[in-house]
Symmetry: C2
Subunit: 138 residues, 2 copies
């Protein structure tokens, strides 16, 4: 904990997408582009329980997210940590992520856990344990 400097918080808060990585059953990396939200030292990604990345996290308990600025020199950092698939209390973070995806002025109405479960939605939550970044971000 306490891994996030001001510069790293700014990188996370001024960008919306990152590349999440998990480990497959055969020990290989799996990557995909995702929108995320930050809650303190936790990174939150909305996904579907059936997605391979969610299954990887349930099996391995670990993930990383690489976040970058989108112009040269492409400042970037990778956030590593224990990860879990969360199904309870996920209405507010899901709304926060949807707000960022759709660039809404306010979060959309919060859905209940039951409504989100009915459409298979879960939250992949990474608790930042270690950061690897270009030197001017650390």
């Amino acid at each position: 904990m306490g891994e996030l400097t001001r510069e790293l918080r700014e990188l996370l808060d001024s960008n919306k997408v990152g590349v999440v990585a998990t480990t497959t059953k055969t020990g290989r990396p799996r990557q995909s582009l995702v929108y995320y939200a930050r809650d303190g030292e936790q990174l939150l990604i909305s996904t579907l329980a059936e997605r391979y990345k969610a299954r990887d996290v349930e099996r391995t308990g670990w993930a990383s997210l690489c976040v970058m600025g989108h112009e040269s020199p492409y400042p970037a950092a990778t956030f590593y940590g224990p990860a879990e698939i969360v199904r309870a209390g996920i209405g507010p973070p899901t709304a926060a992520i949807v707000q960022r995806i759709a660039d809404l002025p306010e979060p959309p109405p919060v859905q209940t856990d039951e409504a989100l479960a009915a459409i298979g939605r879960v939250v992949l939550r990474i608790t930042v344990d270690r950061v690897s970044a270009v030197n001017y971000l650390t």
Copy 2:
């Protein structure tokens, strides 16, 4: 082979940076932002032999690269495949990558393998074997 549609080639050729992933000794994903160049169905990354990602590739023989467009809706694809650390004949690809990094009109002078070895430079080469992408890119 033959994994790259026209749309995927355009994604690769119109962008410069991606997030490379390898697997650590403990089986966890490692990620970092890199510049790359494409040579047919191979993706080339200039790195240092001492970097953890190079050691991961020498140990596992596998890597992936996630490449994205830098504006909403952030089109993205992950390119997976066998990977190796190359030390011979790396002058031209290294020059091609430097040209992309520095946005030069022409590639810089090609260095010999010996000159690159003296500064620890190697090329991480991924041969694309499988692609996972948003549907409008496949």
